[in-house]
Amino acid sequence: MVWRRRFIAVLTFLAGLYFLLEFILPPTVPGRTRRGVFLEHSPTVVALASPDGDRIDVEVGPSVEFSMVVRDPTGKLQAKAQRTREVSVGETLNVRTRTFVFGSFRGGSFLDDKGGIVALRPGERVYSDDSGDLPVEPSLIAPGTALKVEVRRAKVVGVRWGSVTLLDGPAGDVRARRTVPLGPNIAVLRERRKGTPDEIEPYDAKVGDLLAVGHTTFLRDHRDTAAQFNSVLGTLALGMGLLSLGVVNGRRLRKRGEDRWVAIAFFVAVVLGVIAGVYKYYDPSTAERSFSDAIVFRLLGPVGSTIFSLLAFYLASASYRAFRIRSAEAGLMMATALIVMLGQTPFGMYLTGWIGEQFKALWLPNIAGWVLRVPNSAVVRGLIFGTMLGGIGTALRYWLNLEKGSAMGGGD
């Protein structure tokens, strides 16, 4: 049915589109990006409301860090640092306003190592790397430990965006000075002598840096999400293998004789596998964990690699049977194979080691090496180029869904 085909085609196209654009588009919107020599910048100021309702204005600078609380793969909560341009009104963040080195604690206020008083504004608390979710207990910390002043669970109530001043033209000319306002998702890129420019925070720019300031295309910011989407979608098919195998062995179960036992063995094995998988996550030195390890290393390991190792025997007999000089081509192939094989093993040196140093190009390992490095690598490169063009062709056909036939979702 044609509408299905269209529908699938559109989805396929959209899925590919992101990754293509991510590659071919620059990180900031082309037309609307200002480029020039950095002169000065006025800092962004973020207005926060602490959980207890205090209002704090934070001037963004090197020691300020905004972080959002997210879950990590083990389900624990974890702070994820954010760029200033990603801060938006209304979201809840942990904000580090400044850091200092602990000197002493006198009269209810912290003193840094230089003896200066660290004045805490309402809502600010002092934390250390390992104090976790609670403010530090002054009596427990040794002088010299690095501490950070933070506002946790702060709600962003307002952002007053700063600006960057760029010079684009002769130094004397006033018209050449351009003040570019910062804002949500305005990225600042510093150009490098080689390679693509890297994104920096405005306050990291030095006078004389070549900057490009413009609105992001969002594409690069979401690369990790895209990767996540891709792997999740792929992994969601995990049941497929199990199901199709189940169906096959289910049929076997209904048969009589050997097949039935094979099928039963299969299902038992699946159960074993699942148990082993579950126990894998118990801590070591528990009985469950050692059971899982035993299954993995004592059963899965040996059986798996043994099945692979059968190939060596097949290879031996096959090459004995097959590698007959039927044609000149086969002959040439065989000769090369023999040289490479001998070159790989110590026998290569035994056979030709007696040839003196001055002729060491004739040592079998060297001949083999030459074959691999020069003609062979040219052959491989030829194949690679073919594959590259093939790959481009295929990618286009799949992406634009030009493929016909029952196979690729096309014409049913």
Binding site: P27, S244, L310, R321, A322, T387, L389, I392, A407
Partner: protein, 259 residues
């Protein structure tokens, strides 16, 4: 290279453009030429031979599923084999390790026998799912070769380490074997043990030549032009490198093709 610079974009446009252009003109029904691949008349010969010996044909479509291009090429080739088989009236056995592929192979066989006007052959032919394990399937297939007295055997598609098992099995059973894959690690084994081998891209050219299916055809031709472009580029580069030495204008870091 994080983002494409203009050089890369240019190459992208050239290569993709050529392919799309050729696909378009193929769809418009413009006759595109592809030189006959020597392996093709071998197919005819193999089918004829097995007709004389009265055994069925065996076709194995590789170890990958339909998301792999080679499998698509194999589909095209199976269609052709069926049409030829319809002429001589032999039936076809297909073995696979993928439950997902079973319906697809069945469709292909039904459709192409019907198209050739011998639907009854389709019912005699069959698609056998042997085992989800790659090498068990391979060994099972060699078993089939012996049990069914298969006399010609076709291996087309994507292959992994099991290639050897298939082709050696055919050798022992004394079949006439034609193989084609673009997985070049496996080609040596096919070359050594098969009567004819369709190598790397020949596989796609073959399939395009046989089916004249515009997409495949167009992209094969388009890629050809791409290859020609690349070849010329390389020759120019070689000349530049010889004349100007390390500081040639096409050199990677300072030169034109930098990224």
């Amino acid at each position: 290279m994080d983002n494409a610079n203009w050089q890369v974009l240019l190459l992208m446009v050239v290569f993709s453009g050529l392919v799309l252009w050729k696909i378009a003109s193929a769809k418009r029904g413009q006759g595109l030429y592809i030189r006959p691949i020597p392996g093709l008349n071998a197919i005819e010969e193999a089918v004829g031979r097995s007709a004389e010996l009265g055994g069925p044909l065996l076709f194995h479509g590789g170890v990958a599923d339909f998301t792999n291009v080679q499998t698509l090429a194999a589909v095209g080739i199976l269609e052709h084999i069926c049409k030829t088989a319809a002429k001589y009236g032999n039936r076809i056995l297909v073995t696979t390790a993928m439950p997902v592929m079973v319906p697809i192979w069945e469709d292909v066989i039904k459709a192409s026998f019907a198209a050739a006007g011998r639907p009854e052959l389709a019912s005699q032919s069959e698609v056998r799912f042997i085992s989800p394990a790659g090498d068990l399937t391979a060994l099972g297939t060699t078993q089939v070769l012996v049990d069914e007295k298969v006399s010609s055997c076709f291996l087309f598609g994507a292959y992994d380490y099991t290639s050897l098992l298939y082709s050696e099995g055919g050798q022992i059973a004394g079949c006439m074997q034609i193989a084609g894959t673009s997985d070049y690690y496996q080609i040596p084994f096919f070359v050594a043990s098969c009567d004819y081998v369709v190598m790397v891209e020949e596989l796609f050219a073959c399939s395009a030549y046989l089916t004249r299916e515009p997409t495949m055809l167009g992209s094969v031709v388009g890629q050809d032009y791409g290859k020609l472009f690349l070849l010329l580029l390389i020759l120019t580069g070689v000349i530049c490198a010889t004349v100007f030495g390390p500081s040639n204008p096409l050199n990677l870091y300072e030169g034109i093709l930098r990224f």
